[in-house]
């Protein structure tokens, strides 16, 4: 219970700070919307004889992953101001608490960005969200957690690097390939109106396994990242 209570205290602190500055939130949201807008010029379904649902999944998750990097970069960098990270590491809260708290705050922020930009996306690209809404929400939650876990872990790892804004995406995206691949394939099927079935359930299992494995690894090994 203490672990969860302390994690929620860290998450609440991060969310409160972000709500007062809106630095990461505004940047991520603006980025995602601009990407959707630019791609709508590149892939005009009226001129190219293509079904928008075929590429919508890929476009959606690329935009979410890139937008996520913007907010995840701030996650541990926020702690450098006034040497706050030292105070957190010196506190009795386990390093896993710091990680989970930050991951929960990042998850909430990224989810907020995704909900708003998904609404914009569905209007711009005329995708069918309602047909498989429950499964779409499930895929979004699982993939967002995957992006959050990997991004938060690497945000801690790169926090003291001078080029951390560059290093975070370079390190994060290769690790995210299995989760993003699963999310893209599942989302494409769901936008096309196909439910989760025996044919594509493997990708849902990949997402679940990815989330569980990397969440556990991050909580266990974050101490090495933060203290050395």
């Amino acid at each position: 219970m203490t672990f969860l209570r302390q994690s929620l205290a860290i998450a609440a602190k991060d969310l409160r700070s972000e709500m007062r500055t809106k630095e990461a939130l505004n940047a991520s949201l603006a980025f995602a919307v601009v990407i959707f807008l630019l791609f709508s010029f590149a892939f005009d379904p009226a001129n190219l004889n293509i079904d928008v649902n075929d590429y919508a999944g890929g476009l959606l998750w690329l935009a979410f992953a890139f937008a996520g990097a913007l907010s995840l970069n701030r996650s541990f960098a926020r702690e450098l101001q006034n040497d706050c990270l030292d105070a957190l590491v010196a506190s009795p809260a386990a390093p896993g608490v710091l990680f989970l708290g930050k991951a929960l705050a990042n998850f909430a922020l990224l989810l907020a960005v995704e909900i708003v930009s998904l609404a914009v996306f569905s209007v711009m690209y005329d995708v069918r969200l309602r047909a498989q809404l429950g499964w779409i929400i499930m895929v979004i939650l699982l993939t967002t957690w995957a992006i959050t876990v990997i991004g938060t872990a690497f945000s801690a790892l790169t926090v003291n690097l001078r080029m951390r804004e560059l290093m975070l995406p370079i390190l994060t995206y290769p690790f995210l390939i299995p989760a993003l691949l699963a999310a893209i394939l599942l989302t494409a099927d769901l936008f096309a109106g196909k439910p989760i079935s025996a044919a594509n359930a493997i990708w849902l299992r990949v997402l679940v396994a990815f989330d569980v494995i990397f969440s556990l690894l991050a909580v266990v090994f974050i101490d090495i990242v933060l203290v050395g």
Partner: protein, 232 residues
């Protein structure tokens, strides 16, 4: 049992030995002034004692336990170079966060108590980013003493403090001393430190050049220690 046992601690940054075979025992209830020139290794040693960095070799025990254990960290208060406060949070929100992390019983009451002690109760709900430098420093002092730590590790605690903050810090250090707490502080302000210290440790190029009780000569002539045990 000693409050602090440092046995054969080495710390390398790459090939550079920042600390070399440090051995110190600090008895409970003592106040140690950690002295030394810039780059001598004071901050590195304090960071290891606080569990913020791991020694390359050697052991650190706080009241007989590993410095990184949760129960040990609950008894330590650390004041580093930064104030370790969040600019976007209010004074009370900052203190409540740390009170919750340290498991302080009745956190709101204790946080309010510390704000009153440090003269910040009037700006309880003000954002730290709007505070003056002196107010930020007093709030940092409130944060360190919030959980009534048994061991205080202070890195240059008097640097850039205003008169009021120095008075608050003195009073809180005195209270800690009276209830049997231990203080280890690094400083360049010899007069301030030697007046408070019961013991002195001089670090030179990562090694202990002198460790022992504070002597009368040190108070009379603050340069005596450096001339006798230090480099020219």
């Amino acid at each position: 049992m000693n409050a602090l046992d440092v046995e054969g601690v080495w710390k390398y940054y790459g090939d550079f030995p920042a600390l070399r075979e440090i051995n110190i025992q600090v008895a409970a209830g003592s106040t140690v002034a950690l002295l030394g020139r810039n780059g001598a290794g004071k901050t590195t040693l304090l960071r290891i004692l606080a569990g913020l960095s791991k020694p390359t070799k050697g052991k650190v025990r706080v009241q007989g336990e590993d410095a990184r254990q949760e129960s040990t960290r609950r008894r330590i208060g650390v004041l580093g170079h930064g104030i370790s406060l969040y600019d976007e949070l209010s004074a009370i929100e900052n203190l409540l966060l740390f009170a919750r992390l340290y498991g302080v019983p009745n956190p709101v009451k204790r946080a309010d108590e510390m704000l009153e002690r440090t003269g910040l109760d009037r700006v309880r709900d003000g954002l730290v980013r709007e505070f003056s430098r002196g107010m930020r420093q007093r709030l940092a002092v409130a944060r360190v003493f919030l959980h009534a730590p048994d061991l205080l590790l202070l890195d240059e605690p008097f640097t850039a403090l205003d008169d009021r903050a120095i008075a608050v810090l003195h009073a809180l250090l005195e209270e800690t001393h009276q209830r049997g707490g231990t203080v280890v502080m690094s400083t360049h302000q010899l007069r301030e430190a030697l007046e408070l210290a019961t013991h002195v440790a001089l670090i030179q190029r990562g090694q202990i050049a002198f460790a022992g009780e504070r002597r009368q000569e040190m108070l009379v002539d603050t340069g005596w220690l450096y001339r006798t045990y230090g480099e020219n």
